[in-house]
Symmetry: C2
Subunit: 389 residues, 2 copies
Amino acid sequence: VARAARLPSLPAVTDLARNAVEVLPKGELERKLALGRPLRVKLGVDPTSPDIHLGHTVVLGKLREFQDAGHKVVLIIGDFTARVGDPSGRSVLRPMITPEEIGANARTYHEQAMKVLRDDPESLEVHRNSEWLDMPTAQFLTLARVPTVAQILERDDFARRFASGQPISVLETLYPLLQGYDSVAVRADIELGGTDQTFNLMLGRDIQKAYGQPEQAILTLPLLESWDGQKMSKSYNNYVGVSDPPEEQYGRTMRVSDQLMRDWYKLLLSREPPDDPYVAKRALAHDIVARYHGEDAAARAEAHFDRTARREAPTDVPEASFSDDPVHLPAVLGDAFGVSRSEVRRQIAQGGVAVDDEVVTEPDVEAARVDGRVVRMGKRRYVRLRRAA
Amino acid sequence: VARAARLPSLPAVTDLARNAVEVLPKGELERKLALGRPLRVKLGVDPTSPDIHLGHTVVLGKLREFQDAGHKVVLIIGDFTARVGDPSGRSVLRPMITPEEIGANARTYHEQAMKVLRDDPESLEVHRNSEWLDMPTAQFLTLARVPTVAQILERDDFARRFASGQPISVLETLYPLLQGYDSVAVRADIELGGTDQTFNLMLGRDIQKAYGQPEQAILTLPLLESWDGQKMSKSYNNYVGVSDPPEEQYGRTMRVSDQLMRDWYKLLLSREPPDDPYVAKRALAHDIVARYHGEDAAARAEAHFDRTARREAPTDVPEASFSDDPVHLPAVLGDAFGVSRSEVRRQIAQGGVAVDDEVVTEPDVEAARVDGRVVRMGKRRYVRLRRAA
């Protein structure tokens, strides 16, 4: 009862599991929470690029919820695992990323993560995994006794590549062992990760068990999809970095489609969007900038966006009308610009069609989304669409 | 031509390849020998048991031939790889063999190997692979970039176990990498091994290549089969140790069948056996003891064998005659001892039938082998067989 007093704000499990895709194994999170002590909640991130982006903040935000509920977050900056990285197609002797880059990234990762986490030693520990992974090889080989090859090859991406004869280097199969050993080193009670991490997080349980530790619960969160339909990632250049300037954050956020916007609201703002999609999107962009740069910066970014959008579109934009809802762009734009429907389709496929600077990815769009707005195709063609009276 | 003068006794390739099962890749041994300098010829042995046995001496004998031809033998005592060992079915944290045992074995291995090799610094280097394998994990992981999982799973035993769903620990897949790195560390020109090592030796080539070195030629030699039909090995207790006492070496050698004896002559003495099988076997046992303990010890072991064989057999052995050649033991012994033929077969299968202390493994034996000799079945039944007049 002293404990309950210490953790008065401990929320129900259902709150902490909100937005989770999986909480495994069944009942384990509840059992951990029932221990009645602050739990050690692990997240590992490899500093392979300089920026933490909104995709990372989905999991960081969940960590923050654990902090606020009285638990201890253990953030692991994977400076050692970043050195291992993804070796596909690289020369043996050339590192993928220099130790200097990793060191610099590790520093900024820590800083950037603090934009979401509470920086208070009671509820936060930050480690670099070189603290324990820089072990002698003999010790690492002990770790390699734990899993079997068949078990490792069950991981989705490995199974697919193995079945189709694509090479998997032995090194890649070792990466999950390192990540699992991190859980041993920090005695994790819970580990969080994206849904692409489910296998690695579960393997961490086997490794903890082999080292005589209680096995962690795991909680996976959705990967944030970006405007191009891919997982938000440095590799795809489809990300909004938490340290990007306000104008860039605002402008890039405005590129998401109405459909994706619901996810962004849920995963980043933990609320439902307003009914009007354009209002909703502006509010989303505003709130993201405000979170990382403050209200003033958000207001300035918004003004900048409006100014830029106006400047970019020519002043004498011709108008065209439509009557259907949804609007079939190949027909409407084909007529407006005097080109074939297939040309319009091709432009859409290449990301060349935009409504108010937001790229359109489907040929059919809701009437509300385009009514009264300027649609651009390619670099020079503009038309303002209006619903036929 | 100065070089040719330095290596006047360089034998033809065909001599050095004698008894080899494979010399790979085709033409590589010739190319190495054509370099005209002393080659670095590697053998790795893991000191997992205290004894070097006759099985090991097949490869050691070949190394000696390379020494005698002016090349440099690089003997690697695998004290690090012995620590890794075969992890199947063991607990993660319990070592298979203690570092003290490995240290002790490593010392006796060195001594025992010197019973076959010439101990002269011009033609011999001895290393322990802990000298270079005790590296930081980051360096080991670089090594793990070289092979793919599919490549490792091509190894015969792995392929079989993987296909049949038997577990292969990740550690086992790493063992060949360590052995391959030994080749890099000593800059091997040639590596020798038993036929069960073909995969590992070939992988050593890939690893040398990844580290920018010329790739070694490999030469595999037959595994010495012992009296129980298995590869000679500590695990099967079917071995003749080079440090075993003379009497034991003699007695155990006398257990090999006539058929196996030809292989032992070829692989251990490099000559053909005399025609008479019993004479041949005594000469084999004699020569093996003489090699490791000297002529006097061999003579004493021989006398001891005769004395013991006489003492063990009762003095009043009944006699029985046979007329066929080969002699069908189930018939002859069944009649002599008043038991069924299938009982005799069963005894043969269990190793319970012996001629002068040498176990019989087949139901039909040459007449010359049993004529005038005492045949024992089980512990108490004896009969002396004689060819019917």
